[in-house]
């Protein structure tokens, strides 16, 4: 390890925290690899439970604004995570929503499509391996011979970080790509970040995934939809035009169109592109414009070939869509 940090640079205090995420975001921050050493060289990591317990202190004991930049990944799924979010907002000068879950709810937000009760049933009561004759469910408070044990309460709706606290920047992606992340971290260290904006997106492109996708657009209309396992795509040709539902057009770039390199369609993890707010409806607007249909029957046929519209068009962004799921009425069969 090289010597002490350059004296002229004031050492930053950086934190990373997860809420309802999967840890992939923390991993992606680890992915900066060798830069990790530069990071700890230039900044004090004052909170990063997954890799470092050194200097792990009582965050609540920090003075307000003690953390210069705090990255938070994961959605807000329960009361505990909301409290954590509030605390970190208080203790951090700059709060950064890190990754799809924190920004748009991510995959876990699909849970908002249904009510909580059936979810608990599926997990704790009704599955092939469950042994729960009494129908026991986790409770926020349980009496034991020794005293009560508490669990955070589970929310009906998956919330974004922005739904509970003010967010200064957002780094999209599931997970954000390491090079992008490192560029942001560097900017943070060298004070090169753009002016704070309410959830301004950083560490991503202004263009769509299509713009970075190497596949050729032939500007032919979609004459039928195929599911990824149903056909082998022609190499080098836009998957959407081939009929593989691809979220590329409606998705912010930054990933480098990685999934397309694996000849699989984009699923939209970088969230809506441009100023669109409802990624799913934006995609429907686009998709409906490029179907090869001149009669209603044909249009209906093609539309019927789209399986699971919400699970596809809102795979990562349901919590930031206009309707946010929320199961109002009806069975909601696709």
């Amino acid at each position: 390890m090289t010597g002490p940090a350059p004296a002229e640079r004031e050492r930053h205090r950086i934190g990373m925290y997860w809420a309802a995420g999967c840890g992939g975001c923390d991993m992606s921050l680890l992915e900066i690899g060798p830069h990790l050493l530069e990071l700890v060289d230039a900044a004090d990591v004052v909170l990063w439970p997954c890799v470092a317990d050194f200097k792990y202190r009582d965050v609540a004991g920090y003075p307000d604004g003690h953390i210069d930049v705090c990255f938070v990944n994961g959605a807000v799924r329960n009361s505990e995570e909301e409290e954590v979010a509030r605390l970190l907002r208080k203790k951090s000068r700059t709060l950064v929503a890190y990754g799809a879950c924190a920004i748009e709810g991510g995959v876990p937000a699909l849970a908002s499509l249904g009510a909580v009760e059936p979810l608990f049933d599926a997990v704790y009561r009704d599955n092939p391996s469950i042994d729960n004759p009494a129908g026991t469910l986790p409770r926020t408070s349980t009496e034991t011979p020794h005293g009560p044990l508490h669990l955070p309460s589970f929310y009906r709706q998956v919330l974004r970080l922005r739904d509970v606290v003010e967010v200064d920047y957002q780094i999209p992606g599931c997970p954000p790509q390491a090079p992008q992340v490192w560029s942001v971290v560097q900017a943070v260290l060298n004070g090169g970040v753009p002016a704070k904006g309410d959830g301004r997106k950083v560490g991503c492109d202004d263009k769509s995934v299509c713009d970075t996708c190497a596949r050729e657009k032939r500007h032919v209309r979609i004459s039928g939809f195929k599911r990824p396992h149903e056909a082998v795509p022609e190499p080098g040709w836009c998957l959407l035009e081939q009929g593989f539902l691809c979220m590329g057009p409606a998705t912010r770039g930054g990933c480098g169109a990685l999934c397309l390199k694996a000849s699989l369609p984009c699923r939209g993890c970088y969230g809506p592109s441009g100023t669109a707010e409802d990624q799913g409806m934006a995609m429907i607007g686009a998709l409906g414009s490029i179907l090869d249909a001149t009669t209603e029957e044909r249009a209906r046929e093609l539309v019927a070939q789209v399986v699971d519209p919400v699970g596809t068009f809102y795979r990562f962004s349901l919590a930031s869509s206009h309707l946010k799921g929320g199961r109002a009425e009806g069975r909601g069969a696709p």
Binding site: I284, G285, R300, V310, H322, L323, A328, P334
Partner: protein, 171 residues
């Protein structure tokens, strides 16, 4: 979406509005459907007052985001009307509508919006009677379904968040 709370204000500030009336937003293309709505008027046909018309030049302009935005802001129902296929003043604007709206309908159903709340129909400039009948039908079916009041629904679920969310209540 703290701003999308008209109904809280509504019940608070405007007691008259307490008696619920369906709020339906209709997006109409200018050349056929809007003119068709005019035709209904010229013929003095009577229909319920619950549908407020927003005029666009072509149904092809109706961005699906407008549909969800209207519902998210408290509409109990949304109508989308355009020229019949083949009659589009812009050749094929309604071909896009014809493909988009069924997708919107399917997505809304999955999102838990009762199918009756979103209606997509073709109304020609001559079909004043069809328009009147349509408004009548949609208003009745939305009335049957009751208030959607998405903003309230979301606030109950803690969107926008903040304290006072209603967490999952245990059995």
């Amino acid at each position: 979406m703290a701003e999308a709370m008209p109904h809280a204000a509504l019940t608070k500030d405007a007691p008259v509005a307490a008696a619920w009336e369906p709020r339906i937003v209709a997006f109409l293309c200018y050349w056929c459907s809007y003119t068709g709505a005019d035709a209904a008027g010229t013929a003095r046909l009577k229909y319920p007052p619950n549908v407020d018309v927003i005029r666009v030049m072509c149904s092809g302009r109706i961005d699906p985001e407008l549909v969800t935005a209207a519902l998210a802001k408290g509409a109990d129902g949304v109508m989308v009307c355009g020229c019949h296929i083949g009659d589009c003043h812009y050749i094929a604007g309604n071909h896009k509508t014809m493909a988009r709206m069924p997708l919107v309908a399917r997505a809304l159903a999955q999102l838990g919006i009762a199918p009756g709340r979103f209606v997509h129909e073709w109304v020609s400039a001559a079909e004043g009677d069809k328009f009147a009948a349509l408004v009548d039908r949609v208003t009745r079916q939305v009335r049957r379904l009751g208030p959607l009041d998405w903003p309230r629904r979301m606030r109950e679920r803690g969107v926008p968040g903040g304290r006072g969310l209603s967490p999952w209540s245990e059995p």
